[in-house]
């Protein structure tokens, strides 16, 4: 076996340019699989992390707005509605909040979210995995104080004690939230009353309802749905269902399209190996004459083609992985690419199987060589 590997290394270095081009063909394909695959993995992770935040709660917005993400603009929930929800059986807590896409006067960072919450409800948000990186939370009595997300703070060079401006109002940064890989990283959180004041809002956009018994969240959501016609009640299960199909589609397209590139790379391997077998007819004939079995010849050609595709795969995974990782910085943390171990192993297995499949036909041709003919061949 060692001999076969030595020989394969000797052979792939014989035609350096051709080998290099073949490797590039594979690395582009596998690199694309890893890069695009990691982006869809990133999207998936981002969504599931955001779903974590929703777990055990019911999200409410008013009907008429067209869906989850666009809900904030059209939805209106009054103080009266909030009271009605609070009195509903099985409901423990109602947490209203307002949210809008922000334009902020300083910096040129990516779009951020401005979220207004009731300082009384800080515990609710804290219990959902948002920890502080530095400073303190906003507390009852705060007005023009703000908690900011980690990426937002980094991007704008903000620290606790600095101030930011929203609609000509200055807010003091009292705390920075630890990095979470979710939207919250790029948001500014201020007391809900101040927010409604500053942005002239009369009603809440959306709210969270927590049930008394977390395990009954779906039951409570169903009860609410049948009692209130004007509102949508969404649980994390509903959202995951919606999102999963979108993510699956993204996965299918990204990995599907890049796989085509990889298969083209595999054809390159096949072409190279066919050429290589043709050039080495005489040598293969000699090997057979001195006692190499067909199995030996087959293995030799396959090792060579797998070696080429494996090198392409390894370099492709490295470049694809680095590329998608750098996307995080280019996009300012908004686009998340995640190189999972499955993606790396999958990419490697893909590369190996391209080498195997691409090498099989040339290897088979090599075993069919008649040693007498091959030796005569000049």
């Amino acid at each position: 076996m060692n001999d076969l590997i030595d020989l394969a290394i000797k052979n792939i270095f014989r035609q350096k340019t051709r080998t290099a081009l073949t490797i590039i063909g594979i690395l582009i394909g596998i690199g694309a699989v890893v890069a695009l695959g990691s982006i869809s993995e990133g999207i998936y992770t981002q969504i599931t992390e955001e779903m974590q935040f929703m777990a055990g709660t019911i999200m409410v917005y008013s009907k008429g707005s067209s869906g989850f993400m666009t809900a904030f603009e059209g939805s209106e929930i009054t103080e009266g509605d909030v009271e009605e929800f609070e009195d509903f059986s099985g409901v423990k807590q109602v947490v209203p909040y307002v949210m809008r896409m922000g334009e902020i006067e300083i910096g040129m960072g990516p779009t951020m979210l401005i979220i207004g919450i009731d300082p009384e409800d800080v515990e609710f948000f804290k219990s959902r995995g948002t920890e502080l990186d530095s400073g303190r939370e906003i507390v009852v009595g705060d007005t023009y104080q703000t908690l900011i997300g980690y990426t937002y703070a980094e991007g704008n060079g903000l620290e606790v004690g600095d101030s930011i401006e929203l609609k000509k109002n200055s807010f003091e940064v009292v705390g920075i939230i630890e990095s979470t890989d979710a939207d919250i990283d790029n948001s500014v959180i201020i007391p809900i009353d101040t927010m409604m004041d500053v942005y002239n809002m009369d009603n809440y956009k959306s709210l969270f309802i927590t049930p008394e018994d977390v395990s009954k969240v779906e039951v409570v959501a169903e009860d609410l749905k049948s009692s209130f016609d004007d509102f949508e009640f969404i649980t994390s299960t509903d959202l995951i269902k919606q999102m999963a199909s979108i993510v699956d589609m993204i996965r299918f397209f990204t990995i599907g399209i890049s796989s085509i590139a990889a298969v083209v790379g595999g054809l390159g391997v096949m072409n190279t190996m066919i050429m290589s077998v043709l050039e080495r007819r005489r040598e293969i004939g000699i090997m057979k004459a001195v006692g190499a079995t067909n199995k030996y010849i087959l293995t030799q050609i396959l090792i060579e083609s797998v070696m080429i595709s494996l090198i392409g795969g390894l370099v492709g995974i490295t470049i694809g992985g680095l590329g998608s990782y750098s996307l995080r910085f280019v996009s300012g943390g908004l686009a998340m690419a995640k190189v999972t171990i499955n993606l790396v192993i999958g990419g490697l297995l893909f590369a190996i199987s391209l080498g195997l499949i691409g090498g099989l036909y040339p290897a088979w041709k090599a075993t069919k060589l008649d040693p007498i003919e091959a030796i005569r061949y000049e």
């Binding site: 000699i286 057979k288 190499a292 030796i375």
Partner: protein, 225 residues
């Protein structure tokens, strides 16, 4: 003397039943004994190379049987025939047929490595064989760094790897000048004295002279056989 190789009614027909049907061998019977040096003479097209390939387990005859140490070899599968070539047959070709990416010693090692001889042991034996053909000091050279005579010596050393039952040489001096050719003949005679059996296909009267037995072949038949 014992028979190591026996051919019975060997016939070889190319493209049988077609318009371009060609009968190359027409009923060859032949016995080769251990330790012999046999020269196979005949004009080109007489079928002598084909006969050598058949003895060397490279080409299946259309009819007849080949026994190597009493075993009917063409009952074997392709890969089993490869094993017979590896263990029992050594080839020397007119075109030397060394592997260009291997050094001299690696070429000699190849049949041993194929036979599963451990690397260091194979290297040791290959070096001994190269010394035997007086090329010990050129073991690390690649074929393109060696002269024709040297190449044929390496090829001879390779043919001796695995201590074959018989060495089959196809026009071994055909590509060499007469002086170098003589050296190769001398080498083969010396090896024959050491007990190696040779079957040499040749035009070369010098080889024929030094052979113990001459078999003449014409139009696919052995003359006087």
């Amino acid at each position: 003397m014992s028979n190591i190789i026996e051919l019975k009614s060997i016939e070889m027909t190319y493209n049988p039943g077609k318009e371009n049907e060609l009968k190359v061998l027409k009923g060859i019977n032949l016995k080769i004994h251990k330790g012999e040096m046999v020269a196979l003479l005949g004009p080109s097209g007489s079928g002598k190379s084909t006969l050598m390939h058949i003895i060397g387990c490279l080409d299946r005859p259309t009819k007849g049987k080949v026994y190597i140490e009493g075993k009917d070899v063409y009952k074997l599968s392709e890969d089993e025939l490869a094993l017979v070539r590896r263990k029992k047959i050594g080839f020397i070709f007119q075109q030397f047929n060394l592997i260009n990416v291997f050094t001299a010693v690696e070429n000699v090692e190849l049949p041993m490595r194929l036979a599963g001889v451990e690397k260091n042991e194979a290297r040791k034996q290959a070096m001994q064989l190269l010394k035997l053909v007086k090329l010990g000091e050129r073991s690390g050279h690649f074929p393109n760094q060696l002269s024709g005579g040297e190449l044929q010596r390496v090829a001879t050393a390779r043919a001796l790897a695995n201590r074959p039952l018989i060495v089959l040489a196809d026009e071994p001096t055909g590509n060499l000048d007469s002086k170098t050719g003589e050296e190769i003949i001398e080498l083969m005679n010396k090896l024959n004295d050491k007990g190696y059996t040779f079957l040499i296909v040749t035009h070369d009267p010098l080889i024929a002279k030094s052979a113990e037995r001459i078999i003449k072949i014409k139009d696919g038949k052995i003359l006087g056989g």
